[in-house]
Homo-oligomer: 345 residues x 4
């Protein structure tokens, strides 16, 4: 059964599971004051080439809500793309953690907001205090922001006393896609806090707040505790992140899932409605094609916001070429299949 | 090195680690709609002998705050023991999740609140609406409530339109200690929501809301999502709980740690300042004894609220008799040790 | 000096000031349990022809935020016009009072939202629970909803388990404009709570929650207390409302200010960009006209959201024909004035 | 009918009512940017001998909750007397405005908390961040803090990174009682924000935040708006305060009510259970005395927290000697009355 529903329907990388077993040996200080958590921080400092702080959390929703709340007073406004996960999918978590801040959704092609649109929104005369610009990297449309785009957005933000949050649930995929360094894509371009995802890319449940504006750290620790996200056996989240960062597993996994999406997009005989830049393919299928795929056991979601007949196909760290091939073949009618799949043409 | 700091400084049961590896195979529906999560619910229904609902969460703080918030409007009052974890240790999580309810701390011997004291507190003429009585089972003093005590408290609560929350971070230890059934200790005695702990008793990070008053379930699911505690790969929490409940691992682990505490209390040549009913021993040490233990690498916390010189010694699912023995010996001066440890007398 | 900035830059009706002096005599029970507050409730029951509950408050922002919060859980969504005061002008008060609900702004001509647009917005697949539809009557554009429009919106709302809030800061003006009865414009059409304004129409500071869905009353009283809007000397708000409702002062004041707006719109030699239905005129002035008016001391605000050069002119209960006349004359160049103002042609 | 229930059951001073009528003339800028509001600020700067900021509000609950929230993050702790109005009587308003901070009640004789007790409470090892010490001046027991006591408390507070809030619902009575200057009783002793009451002492509904730590002002303005306490016709609150401060009306009213309490206490043949320092007398009556008084129409509240049979008798700015005399006589049995009331003996 081919599963393109999401990268979070997949399991965990073996390296990460093994790290859990190792971390279980012996006793250690609880609540994050253990050597593994410290090592993750140090590894992040190498990867990001700066003395950032690092706080592991369990979910992207928690990471995003904590980060946004650390930047946004309850009377503040957060500017984000209209499709942003924090706006559409998190059941109001940012509003909850901030105590009632307002998210201002901004339209923008291919999942990206533009600096001009953000400037205009910030300048709107609502009775609210602009506080945060939130970017999703990679976006909900599977696209990425370039270093220049991030810098332009962050510049507008900072000029208006807003901080910059980056929802990096698929940050690894964006690093691979852009070819830019983690530092270039974040603090060098003006990002204040990154929520660096692991779960969708091979971890069980592990994300981390990578805090470049370290004036926010002390408060974030208190907020994390208060929100029930300060694990007593923190080492078990940190061990996942430790294995994720070791030997560039995070990049290898992302490179693979991005490549699988490219392969899928190249071989599918279907309109691709968004640029394929990371591990998501948005394709338009005739109803009989979608039905045929589902009959044969393929799993994927319709994506009506992107147009009639559009489906979302998400590849993962463990998607195989065979699965891609089988899926592509299954899109074809019996007759077409006999002529060979597009891939082989 | 003997570690009596807490049951959360210990690792995980092998059965639980193995369950994670198994759960990682294949893909599955995310956000809790997977077969393992369903199986945990069904297993709880057997154990509790009722059609309860079950929501896995990651931390006790999250579980408690969600449960209390589901029972308490923002203008409500929560009555709990003055030593309760929700009051002293959770950085105001219940206040956050409720939107500003008030916790009313109540004094009581051995970590337990009495029905009369709760009745008096509820009847105090503060401008606040009584909404929740919160019990900790086992208590922060390592003691347990009997079935009759729970029933008396719940009866007062319900008569005053309050619901009953049970913080069961060490519920397994309480079941073993009382000999009562899970059903008797909870819904049959009037408990509306139990936060059933796994983390301190062999899991990596796994607790569950066991919801007896099922009118609260729909709201609890929304609250959990909004608080960032709805894991995408929920199966990895559920797999821990599944292994925890299978073959009574939860009871075996708790039985062992309770027995180790009894052994420790029996053999220690020190005043024991609280009844030893579960897996915590509160002992008064002369300063030189505490110092000697620490020199030899033993780890434990001073517990000043229980008196000068009092320390807390917590046993765990993997504490060994050898560790107990070594610790007891280390309490003795060289001379005394030569005469044999109390255990052997 | 002619002041068209807002109806809240004006003073209070003499009848209302006199009522304050009368109410000051003797002592009375505080916190709203006084005879004047009771009389206001009874008078509202007559006016609205139903057994509504009535809670006086001090500001429209408080009234709106309380009403919306009584209908909307913290994970709920409130659907309102993109220009709504609750969305643009109240510094996030509804988000604060609800504990972080989300306002979903909806576009709509002339300040009104349409039932189809509301249905579409409710049906959008955001992770949030539809809870409240909020209407402004009269709207921020000075227009009114007809009884039929309100009924259509309320029907969509109720079919989707949403309650209906009406921001009636200028409800009196809407009653006069529509010619419909208070009952027809509110509960008979499906409104659950009306915030009935007095301040903009001759009171000092007095609004009231008129609660048709009386299941909300007890909670609203608690919320009002908690928000610091339960006055100890409540009689002084109630006395304003009492005089406001006596002898139809509220309707007389509104009738006058509406008539002044009509007179102004009729005589102004300027494009009127919104239908003039209550006491606001949105006119487009050439820059030199606006400048000339301001030189002569006229006060009014530019209203850029309604187009370049557009200004908002608000009449009040004590605006005079002479003021209108003088203002209209001042719009004319010296030459035009000599030929006679439009009014006299 | 003699009314000793509270100073808030009384009406308003004539000077204040007249000021409202004057303020109603003409139009003025709304939302607090009017000359009367400015004049109140300037008058406060004279009275307090410093460049404080001043924000009028409508209720003491609002003022207190805003002040506390401006000092206390959602994870903060507020230390106050166990009888404090913010703790017992405001329906959790401080918890609401802070987003869930914790109030830590402290015992203390005669309504006052001691510096040592505050230091001990701050040093308790709860997971919460000490943020605010809140004093009530005059206290709920009708007593006052001396300048030295305030300074000692503020010194402890500031040494522990807490700010100091003063609930001055009866600040005027405390100024009269202590003979100290407003400056000495507040900022010179370390108070950061005073909520200076008018309502209980002759206003209709008018309090003001007197902000000595002006770094808090900008945020307090936003919070006030968001909480629905930024009146459009602000001048009508400011006009009350303007008249209250003019010609020392505030001191004259307080001096009178304090004197009436002294007279009452001196003449009453009853145990007085708290020192009478301002305008409240706590007296123990035999049941038949209380019953007799009520039969004759006297109004007052039982005050069980201060002991069996204790009642609270509050005098006001317009309490008369005749009322005191009549009340005292009514406490006497027929026989005793014939012998002359205590006053005349």
């Amino acid at each position: 059964m081919i599963d393109f529903r999401s990268d979070n329907t997949h399991g965990a990388s073996p390296e990460i599971l093994e790290a859990l077993a190792r971390a279980s040996r012996g006793t250690t200080t609880s609540y994050g004051e253990d050597p593994i958590t410290l090592r993750v921080r140090d590894r992040c400092r190498e990867i990001f080439e700066t003395d950032c702080d690092v706080l592991p959390v369990l979910t992207g929703t928690a990471g995003n809500a904590l980060a946004v709340a650390s930047m946004t007073p309850q009377w503040g406004a957060v500017f984000c793309h209209v499709e942003a996960h924090i706006h559409r999918d998190e059941m109001g978590a940012p509003e909850f953690f901030t105590g009632g801040a307002k998210l201002i959704p901004i339209e923008g092609a291919n999942g990206r907001i533009g600096a001009d649109d953000v400037a205009r929104a910030i300048g709107g005369d609502m009775a609210i205090v602009p506080a945060c610009v939130s970017l999703t990297q990679a976006t909900e449309a599977g696209t990425v922001y370039s270093v220049e785009e991030i810098a332009a957005l962050a510049s507008i933000a900072h000029a208006n006393k807003c901080r910059v949050h980056m929802d990096g649930a698929r940050f690894a995929n964006a690093v691979v896609a852009t070819g830019a360094s983690p530092a270039e894509l974040t603090w060098r371009a003006g990002v204040d806090v990154l929520v660096f995802g692991g779960t969708k890319n091979g971890a069980l449940a592990a994300e981390m707040l990578v805090i470049f504006d370290r004036t926010l750290t002390a408060e974030l620790e208190l907020r994390r505790h208060r929100a029930g996200h300060r694990l007593s056996k923190m080492r078990f989240v940190s061990a996942q992140l430790d294995a994720y960062l070791a030997d560039d597993l995070w990049l290898r996994n992302a490179r693979h899932s991005n490549a699988m999406a490219q392969l899928l997009a190249k071989n599918l005989a279907a309109e691709i409605v968004r640029p394929v830049e990371t591990n998501a393919v948005f394709a338009r299928f005739a109803p009989e094609v979608a039905a045929r795929l589902r009959e044969q056991g393929a799993l994927f979601y319709d994506w009506p916001p992107f147009g009639a007949g559009v489906v979302r196909l998400v590849t993962a760290f463990d998607t195989t070429e065979e699965e891609i091939d089988a899926f592509v073949r299954a899109t074809l009618s019996g007759e077409a299949r006999d002529r060979g799949s597009p891939r082989h043409r």
